[in-house]
């Protein structure tokens, strides 16, 4: 039972116009503002509470040539993610943003912010610094940075962000997290209701439209899944792990080889929505949640939290294997990979180290490696 879900068609309409989505266009037509953000350590709720539309800056569903970006960011040492974003900015495609809020997860994003500011007209707020360690002192420091972001937004737009507005925004965003967790739990079934490619489309839409409307779509999606009893055939269960990946067509290619992508370890996936904001003073609560490393980013330290999350997820989701996407020059991800790869393999979950560029398509070389990996997992013959 794998008919297209009506809600998925609605979601596809949101993603169809990239990067300036239909909902974003309608928002601007009402004279309202859009704040672009890079890195999940920028608490969207603050932007939302300010009355702006938080809009994640990403690449689209296709690989693009990066000729212009390559002139500004040396391709030998920068990642294709930062250069893709810069390329889109240089082409003016993100010109609809009123300003950008970025954090400091890695050199790639920091350089992108600095270089970007220089060469296009979108103002960028002072960068929100993220500590690498996860401990109490780090929370205090990060809290200070989040307070700074709030002040900078208020100053830039000449507004005040109230605690009440924040509390409301937190409730809105927490609702998303609850529903996404429900969808994720459904993927535990042998016959999951959604493909990994569809999940990616659903995740992409989240950050390209007003959150209240998105929550309605998510709610409808859940209902539709429950009423139709949608179930994909049982196939080997894989997880896609990586820094950031937005190309649902890539995931579709992988799944066409006879696997279900049932989980992810991606910056725009689980790491984005995992864990709710707790009750309490809103800015503190936001800081705590957004730095909280239950589903930690490769850049964080100590690294064992990440290894443990991955091992636990492999067990819970009954993974047959993991595809680790190593994007060239992504130091945080590549250097963190050896920390958990052997642990997962020893636990019985093979890991395929696959190098692709951000936005990279499903080339012959990529296909051969994944196909060989899938054969390794599932091709059993009697000789």
């Amino acid at each position: 039972m794998t008919e297209t879900l009506k809600t998925l068609e609605e979601i596809r309409k949101v993603n169809a116009s990239f990067p300036f989505s239909e909902p974003a266009r309608k928002w601007k037509e009402q004279g309202k503002k859009i704040v672009g953000w890079i890195c999940i350590n920028v608490p969207e709720e603050i932007i939302h509470a300010a009355g702006m539309l938080p809009y994640r800056i990403t690449g689209g569903d296709e690989e693009i040539t990066l000729d212009r970006a390559n002139e500004y960011l040396f391709s030998g040492s920068t990642c294709s993610y930062s250069r893709t974003i810069l390329e889109l900015q240089l082409r003016g495609e993100y010109g609809f943003l009123d300003c950008i809020a970025a954090a400091t997860p890695c050199e790639g994003v920091i350089r992108l912010a600095e270089v970007g500011t220089h060469y296009h007209n979108i103002p960028i707020l002072p960068l929100l610094d993220i500590p690498r360690k996860i401990n109490e002192r780090a929370y205090d420091y990060y809290h200070g940075e989040v307070v700074g972001l709030k002040k900078n937004l208020e100053q830039f737009f000449g507004i005040t962000i109230t605690d009440a507005a924040l509390a409301n925004s937190i409730a809105v965003y927490n609702k998303t997290r609850v529903i996404l967790q429900k969808l994720y739990d459904m993927m535990k079934k042998d016959t999951p209701p959604l493909s990994g490619a569809e999940m990616m489309e659903i995740l992409n839409a989240a950050v390209r439209m007003p959150r209240e409307d998105y929550n309605i779509l998510l709610g409808n999606l859940l209902k539709e899944i429950e009423t139709t009893g949608r179930a994909l055939p049982a196939q080997p269960r894989l997880m896609i792990s990586g820094a950031v990946l937005n190309t649902s067509s890539f995931i579709k290619g992988v799944e066409s080889l006879g696997v279900n992508i049932v989980a992810d370890d991606l910056c725009n996936g689980s790491r984005y929505w995992w864990e709710q904001v707790e009750a309490g003073e809103p800015v503190r609560a936001l800081a705590r949640r957004h730095l909280l490393a239950q589903c930690p980013c490769p850049r964080t330290n100590p690294q064992h939290m990440r290894s443990e999350w991955l091992m636990e997820t492999a067990r819970e989701m009954r993974l047959d294997g993991i595809i680790a996407l190593t994007m060239r020059n992504c130091a945080p991800y590549i250097l963190n990979l050896p920390m958990w790869k052997t642990k997962l393999e020893d636990q019985g979950t093979p890991v395929l180290d696959l190098d692709i560029e951000y936005g990279g398509g499903f080339s012959g070389q990529v296909r051969t490696r994944i196909e060989a990996f899938v054969e390794m997992l599932s091709l059993e013959v009697e000789i």
Binding site: P350, D353, G364, Q365, T368, R369, E371, A372, E375, M376, L379, V381, E382, I383
Partner: protein, 291 residues
């Protein structure tokens, strides 16, 4: 007009087992490996090697496959495509073989093929193909447990060797022996990049190096590059090599020296490993189909 000698050329070959009669076999299975540089077809009768061809690939996968098949079946009296029970395609061109029933990657097929050629003791397989180089960890059944591929760099590939052969005007089949006909083993060349090979080789020859010494330096550099890949997966005995470069003593001996392990000696042409593995899978798929 003087004939332009092509140093990269190696001789195409065929084989047929004169003591086998394919008509007596219960299952006639075949595999075709279409690679970027060479293509092979292997025919098995009830899982035993009956015939093969080893040919140079053309510009299109379907025609390379057909060519390998035509050349192979020319040697097999009365055996035509329609008499083959199941055919599996593998290699870079595997999805473009119109007469194959199924495609299996060359990684899985090389494992199975190596198991046939070398026996169940092979744990580490090195395949040095036309345009890529891979290391496989195998179990006793020839199943691949883990693998690493390098398909971005020509060093350690057949194409890389062909470039060296052309630059130094030495037939590629003679490189191995010549690389040992030297007084002292030189340091491997510093830049392994095959794109810069001509510049480097010219410079060395100008410095007074003999051709053989330059060959030795290149074989040494290729061996080092390949051993880097091998060590990432670690080398467990027994160790075996498939692919065209397995016939190049110059690279093979230097690899063995670096890892301190001798490669098993093949009892047949190691270039057919992929097609052989494909033919083994073909037999298994046919049996499963009949059940």
């Amino acid at each position: 007009m003087e004939e332009q000698k092509e140093y990269f050329r190696w001789v195409e070959s065929t084989y047929v087992n004169p003591e086998m009669d394919w008509r007596k076999a219960e299952i006639v299975s075949a595999g075709i490996d279409v690679g970027s540089v060479s293509s092979q077809m292997v025919v098995l009768c009830d899982g035993a090697l009956y015939a093969y061809s080893n040919t140079r690939s053309g510009s299109s996968s379907p025609s390379s496959a057909k060519n390998a098949m035509d050349i192979c079946l020319k040697e097999t009296p009365g055996l035509t495509l329609d008499k083959i029970n199941y055919l599996v395609g593998t290699g870079y061109g595997r999805i473009n073989i119109p007469f194959a029933q199924k495609a299996v990657t060359e990684i899985s097929c090389h494992g199975m093929g190596a198991n046939y050629i070398y026996g169940p003791t092979v744990q580490t397989l090195l395949d040095m193909g036309g345009q890529d180089c891979k290391t496989l960890r195998l179990n006793e059944q020839g199943k691949c447990l883990n693998f690493l591929m390098n398909d971005k760099c020509a060093a350690g590939t057949g194409r890389g060797m062909e470039v060296i052969a052309e630059i130094l005007k030495v037939p590629v089949t003679e490189i191995g022996d010549l690389s040992f006909d030297i007084d002292e083993e030189p340091e491997p060349v510093s830049s392994i990049c095959v794109v810069f090979a001509k510049t480097e080789a010219t410079a060395l020859l100008k410095m007074g190096w003999s051709k053989n010494k330059v060959l030795a330096a290149y074989c040494g550099a290729m061996a080092r590059r390949v051993v880097e890949l091998l060590n990432m997966l670690t080398v467990e005995k027994e160790f075996a090599i498939t692919g065209g470069i397995a016939k190049n003593k110059g690279v093979v001996k230097r690899i063995e020296k670096l890892i301190g392990i001798e490669a098993l000696v093949p009892k047949m042409d190691s270039q057919i490993a992929g097609a052989l593995g494909a033919a083994i899978y073909a037999k298994a798929f046919y049996k499963r189909q009949k059940q």
